[in-house]
């Protein structure tokens, strides 16, 4: 029996899980399905569709917190926050177009499940740093909660951290509370032209180590970009400070104003700036910032036509490689080598994703521990089996 179950509330969600548990059926858990082409394909016959459990439960701008149901589209949340001049500070990316979907389809909970954050990850933290609390149903069909709606949110174990980035494999959420922050008045960007990768990352790291509170640090081809946000006089002073700091790079500099900056960083966030061909294989690598250029050089050596850019001061690398049968996973992970970090195969054909490790392989001890943690939530492996492989 194949099909889609679409519960309308928590009670129905619990019933659906209970049914699956008793019928020995695994469930492919999804919000709107915008990231379905990401991760290891699952072999579930049943889809558990959360799109009907949607809507904002409570928004308290003065408490800097919003509580929404699992199927609530990200863009609805962002539009609501914008009315009060607030934002999700971790800058959730919209990877829909990269994954062959329409823009704006994803849910906030889907973003949290992949722990996806944009350029501001550097200064504001990851998606997981903003998840204050949640409730959901575990693989025993039990509804439980963790965390809260206040800033110091945790009593007992911080299960929110574990849930963020779990790709729906631990519990099916029905509600989340997320921290929000005031949106900046102004956003400006300092651009340096003509630096090579190594010089660029050195400049980015110098800027990040300065007191000028940089909230975006990217290098795309021959442009090196630093974002400064806040009230006008502060932005002005910090940009001047950055120009002084980086004058010895010899690079020519110019600036983007608020509107141009927003568009520029949106393209960085959504990986549009990569300019990947439609059939290119896409990788995302997290490594120590100063190691970024060396990792890229090792891969470029083997694949001279590849495209790459750096975010997070050099610590986040996006790669577009020509398609190969194994997605070049051996090459990419060998290039990362002992550097420390992880490489994720973000886009490849279903056949490639089924055949190679999509997520960074872990040590035997960690893998066993992760499996025990998985069992502690979902002992029969009902939710998204194999997705994290």
């Amino acid at each position: 029996m194949t099909g889609t179950i679409r519960p309308r509330d928590t009670q129905e969600l619990r019933q659906a899980v209970e049914w699956a548990l008793n019928a020995d059926e695994s469930l492919e858990v999804r919000g709107t399905g915008s990231k379905q082409a990401l991760g290891k394909p699952t072999a579930c016959k049943q889809v558990l569709d959360l799109s009907a459990i949607a809507g904002v439960v409570d928004y308290a701008p003065e408490e800097l917190v919003v509580t929404v149901r699992a199927g609530t589209p990200l863009r609805d949340v962002e539009a609501l926050l914008a009315q009060r001049n607030q934002m999700l500070a971790f800058e959730p990316p919209d990877l829909g177009p990269l994954l062959g979907r329409e823009p704006g389809e994803g849910t906030l909970v889907g973003t949290l499940m992949g722990n996806f954050a944009g350029p501001r990850r550097l200064s504001a933290g990851a998606a997981r740093d903003h998840l204050l609390g949640f409730s959901g149903v575990n693989g025993r069909g039990e509804w439980f909660k963790s965390g809260g709606r206040v800033m110091k949110n945790v009593t007992g174990y911080d299960l929110s951290k574990l849930i963020a980035g779990s790709w729906g494999t631990l519990a099916v959420l029905d509600e989340v509370s997320v921290k929000v922050l005031p949106a900046p008045d102004q956003t400006r960007t300092l651009l340096l032209h003509g630096l090579d990768d190594a010089m660029a990352v050195k400049a980015l790291c110098a800027a990040m180590g300065s007191p000028h509170e940089v909230s975006g640090a990217a290098h795309i081809k021959d442009r090196t970009a630093l974002r400064v946000e806040g009230v006008a006089p502060s932005v002005e002073a910090r940009l001047t400070g950055l120009r002084d700091l980086l004058s010895d790079t010899g690079a020519t500099m110019d600036e983007l104003g608020t509107l141009e900056s927003r568009a520029f960083w949106r393209d960085v966030r959504d990986v549009t700036v990569l300019g990947a061909d439609a059939d290119a294989v896409i990788w995302r690598i997290s490594c120590p910032p100063t190691e970024g250029p060396r990792v890229v050089a090792r891969i470029r050596n083997q694949r001279p036509t590849m495209k790459a850019f750096y975010d997070w001061s050099g610590g986040l690398i996006w790669l577009a490689l020509p398609p190969t049968a194994d997605g070049d996973h051996v090459l990419v992970r060998a290039a990362l080598g002992a550097t420390g970090g992880h490489a994720t195969l973000i886009r490849a054909s279903e056949a490639v994703r089924a055949a190679v490790p999509v997520f960074q392989p872990q040590s035997a001890a960690l893998l066993a521990l992760a499996q025990r943690v998985k069992d502690s939530f979902d002992p029969k492996g009902l939710f998204n089996p194999g997705r994290l492989g």
Partner: protein, 495 residues
Amino acid sequence: MHMPPLDPDILSRRAEIVAALRVIVPGEGVIDDLDGMRPYECDALSAYRQMPLVVVLPDTVAQVSAILRYCQDHKVKVVPRGAGTSLSGGSMPVGDAILLGMGKFNRVLEIDYPNRCARVQPGVTNLGVSKAVESEGFYYAPDPSSQIACSIGGNVAENSGGVHCLKYGLTTNNLLGIEMVLMNGEVVRLGGKHLDAGGYDLMGLMTGSEGLLGVVTEVTVRLLRKPTTARAVLLGFPTEAGAADCVAAVIASGIIPGGMEMMDKDAVKCAENYVGAGYPLDAEGLLIVELDGPPVEVDHLVARVEEIAKGRGATTCRVSRDEQERVLFWAGRKAAFPAVGQITPDYMCLDGSVPRGRLVEVLAEMRQMSKTHRLRVVNVFHAGDGNLHPLILFDANDPDELKRAEEFGADILRLCVRVGGVLTGEHGVGIEKRDLMGEQFTEIDLDQQMRVKCAFDPDHLLNPGKVFPKLRRCAELGRLVVHQNKIPFPDIPRF
């Protein structure tokens, strides 16, 4: 305080356990005489004391691994301890458990400025990290009041905060990597100098797990560059409600100060008497608001905060003129707890979180409770993030006062949960709040947390008797009752 009964079998095997530990940690690293163990009989929740079975102070990761593997194989319980500054009894010894002191892991291993991180051993003090990098203009952001003594390993265990976590986050937001030893002796590394985990965020889970999941042997922390300037504003209000209201208004206006602390009249009086920080003695509520960043930004924000405060009836408004005065403004706040100690034989320091918007009513209700329980309460707390630290004044020599103080404390924490907050802010559950967990969580919630514990420590050997009010065996927790084919497919839309 009820603790699990001591296991007579373990007590009878004490000599054998001590001998085994001496093989793993040669020399003076094993302490089994009463005088030698005395300094370890309690942590900073000193109302509760207990001698450990034996104290062991390893100095290598291999030794920690061997100790835990031995304990797992022989079913011996272990209580890990950093600097012993826990305020919730997190490192209180247990009579039939080894006390595993991590104090010898006290080296800064690596400082990497370009990648803005430092790799340190867990016994390095919180302040020690900042001191190690201050010459280059960097610091480590979380700054608990015990920062001169508390260890980074303990900070990870308790997810410690401090005055500046309003803007810069708690420990969990400032870690890049840890190395830890599991109960079975396995050594695993989580994270590193890069951002975010591949796979489950086990480092996030470990942070704040109160020593129940593993023993941290190395920590990679994120370093921040010190802000160009910081200025503190003292705001005095004729009512407590005025001050509390101002806290919510500042945040609602879109300003996130570096720190925003509140003190009530009694706290102000004590602190002023102790330090002479120049606090206004007529204020019923005092706020210290710190604003940091480039000078032009700080000027701009100071002006906005002053305007908001005056709109809410502030009668005192003083901005620090120089670094010396800023430090002085803070000196009173930082000395507030010992200062309160001057007017009472004993005090109980509580820790709970509430939504900022409910501060006014929570403070009012606390005053009411103070009358009911016939005990004074003094408030000094992290107002900006709604983290209360009420100090209940009592005399421990009077058993009735101690009992009333405990009841008063429990009532305050219940109040926190009732208004939408949580039982803890930054001190952890430990033994102090263990029996109140049911106020916030259902049995299902707690069972889920205990199952996570089972994934790390299937025999409940690590830090026993802490956090969970009622222990259930992992085998029992893991049992899954399946009603094979007895549940019909529910009436849910399907396609």
